[in-house]
């Protein structure tokens, strides 16, 4: 019983972070039908920016997210304006060209990090890094708890923005039907820029939070990118709740396997991959698609 509670709490805490990093991918895909491979590079830069703010100005990693978010939003908009928008627009599906282009951006970002911060493994050690508290009888690390809090907060803010502001409504409109949104007078180019900025900001924030939990190098981020893919494939690209559900499924699977089976932790990335593979092949519309299909089948009966 205790084991179950342990896994549940650990998974929930991990899922918050996973959802934050996956949402950045989802919003860019939704608005532009672009799979942002540079996401991993942005997360890595987010981690290093937080690291630099911490070592240079001894700014608390969680406070520095307030700097990272607007900074990366600006960076994302800039990237969109200078590079991404020059891509020929593909129809309804993501194009290989955009994938490879952003792959190139990722490599450049990696190299940038090697030049600025060298290839050494870095980590952030704050006064509370090794502290833990008891939650329903389960020991939980303070950073993990803070990360969950920040993730939940950022997703709530996002939910508010998406449903209560013009920008958010326009983002959702373009996601649902680009042509109809254009007809309704939405400036799709501006919304795309904003969405790219938003996705980049989320990646930066996710990276900043990752830096409080893990050590990192310029190569860091690939396995998290794959996790993020897995989540949006599972959760569908449309809703914040879907992304959160996908994140929880992945986190439960990872933690459950780590606790109840003897699969070594080095295989953990393989697990998210296997799940990604199964998800892509078995239910390409994600969990929501699966549910609607099941519901339809029941209705037919």
């Amino acid at each position: 019983m205790r084991g179950v509670l342990n896994v549940l709490i650990d998974s929930l805490l991990a899922a918050g972070l996973y959802a934050t990093m996956a949402y950045g991918l989802a919003v860019i895909y939704g608005v532009m039908r672009i799979i942002n491979l540079a996401h991993a590079g942005v997360m890595m830069l987010g981690a290093y920016t937080t690291f630099s703010l911490f070592t240079r100005f001894s700014l608390d990693p969680f406070l520095s997210l307030l700097v990272v978010a607007p900074l990366f939003f600006g960076g994302g908009v800039l990237l969109y304006r200078t590079v991404v928008r020059r891509l020929p627009r593909s129809g309804g599906t993501a194009s290989i060209e955009s994938l490879l282009l952003l792959f190139g951006v990722w490599l450049v970002l990696q190299n940038l990090a090697y030049v600025i911060w060298t290839g050494d493994t870095q980590s952030i050690l704050t006064s509370y890094t090794l502290k833990s508290v008891s939650l329903l009888g389960v020991r939980v690390g303070v950073p993990a708890l803070l990360v969950f809090g920040m993730s939940a907060l950022s997703l709530l803010v996002l939910e508010f923005v998406l449903h209560r502001t013009y920008l958010g409504k326009a983002v959702r409109a373009v996601t649902q039907n680009r042509d109809a949104a254009l007809l309704a007078g939405v400036n799709a180019d501006q919304i795309s820029a904003a969405a790219f900025g938003l996705g980049t900001a989320f990646a930066g924030v996710a990276g900043g939070m990752l830096s409080t939990l893990y050590a990192f190098t310029p190569d860091f981020g690939r396995s998290f990118l794959l996790k993020a893919f897995c989540i949006i494939v599972l959760g569908g690209m449309e809703s914040v709740t879907g992304v959160a559900a996908g994140a929880l499924v992945l986190a439960l699977l990872e933690n459950g396997l780590a606790v109840w089976t003897t699969i070594p932790t080095s295989f953990q990335d393989a697990v998210s991959f296997a799940l990604l593979f199964v998800a892509l092949v078995a239910f390409p519309q994600g969990l929501p698609g699966l549910f609607t299909r099941l519901a339809r089948r029941r209705a037919v009966r």
Binding site: V83, L100, G104, V105, L107, V108, N111, F229, L280, V281
Partner: protein, 312 residues
């Protein structure tokens, strides 16, 4: 005039094969790397270029070939006899992952292949019979540079010739149809999955043989060397930079690439900026000339070269 690319190619091939008589070892090493790059690029192009299925997981096949060669040689087999076994293994593996992965289209397929490459690398460094992350060494007495050089160059020539043959065959036409419009191809009665699987298996087998030769030449392999993600990356980059889906493009890309690599590695200040160069190349090609150097050349000398490369 139509025969020009063929004559030029054959002449280059003969020159490369005869090179050990004249050139010194250092230069031969560079030609060896070029041949290795040509094999990887042209083999990848069979699936990625002809059929338009961009895979970022080819290091898996290279690694399988390399590991098969080392593991079997350690059990007393002649290293060169292990090459076909490695190829068969890689082809079988390619079918195994292709069966589910080819149900995915475009970028989704690409993402799935990143996953495959990662999983194989993780497994190779965690399982004990592969020597874990510290890798494996070839048994002593298996090193013969001239033989290895000749095999690599001969294989490179064979792969390019095979690519040219495939492109003109019915098989190549089917792959082109799949690239242009998979639904239309299916409607015409092309079993797209079967053709994609065949192209995947063929290119995987060729890459695996190159991997085996690589292992024999370097005498030591580790997951970090043969299963490296950067390897998958350069395999994709070469045909794309040269001209994806053509015969000469991957060769051109391999030439640019191995020259860059050799030149870059000799300049200490630039040694750490190869990612920057690869990335910038990718960005520039995608934004300005998605058909690569060959596309650029064609645009510049459009009239004259159209006749030259009409079937290349």
């Amino acid at each position: 005039m139509k025969a020009f690319p063929w004559v030029a190619g054959a002449a280059l091939g003969v020159l490369a094969l005869a090179a050990p008589l004249v050139l010194e070892r250092g230069t031969l090493n560079d030609v060896w790397s070029l041949a290795f790059a040509v094999i990887l690029a042209s083999a990848w192009n069979l699936l990625g270029g002809f059929a338009g299925q961009v895979s970022l997981g080819y290091s898996a096949f290279l690694g399988i070939g390399a590991y098969a060669t080392v593991l079997l040689s350690l059990r007393g087999m002649n290293p060169f006899l292990t090459l076909p076994l490695g190829a068969a293994l890689a082809a079988a593996f390619s079918v195994l992952i292709g069966l589910p992965a080819f149900r995915l289209r475009g970028p989704y397929f690409t993402i799935a292949t990143i996953g495959v490459g990662e999983v194989v690398r993780v497994c190779a460094s965690s399982v004990s019979f592969t020597g874990g992350s510290s890798g494996l060494r070839m048994p002593p007495g298996t090193f013969d540079f001239t033989l290895n050089y000749l095999s690599m160059v001969a294989l490179a020539i064979a792969v390019v010739a095979l690519a040219a043959f495939v492109k003109r065959s019915a098989f190549g036409q089917a792959l082109a149809a799949i690239r242009q419009d998979i639904d239309a191809a299916e409607a015409l009665g092309i079993d797209s999955t079967r053709f994609k699987l065949a192209a995947h298996a063929l290119s995987a087998a060729l890459v695996a043989v190159a991997g085996g030769l690589y292992a024999i030449n370097f005498q030591y392999i580790a997951p970090g060397s043969v299963f490296d993600f950067r390897l998958s990356l350069s395999i994709v980059l070469m045909p794309i930079v040269g001209g994806v889906g053509t015969i000469a493009g991957p060769v051109l890309g391999a030439l640019v690439f191995s020259t860059l690599q050799i030149k870059l590695l000799s300049i200490p200040a630039l040694r750490d900026s190869y990612l920057f160069i690869y990335g910038t190349l990718l960005i520039v090609v995608m934004l300005f000339e998605p058909k690569g150097i060959l596309g650029l050349v064609r645009r510049v000398f459009n009239r004259r070269l159209r006749r030259f490369y009409a079937d290349a």
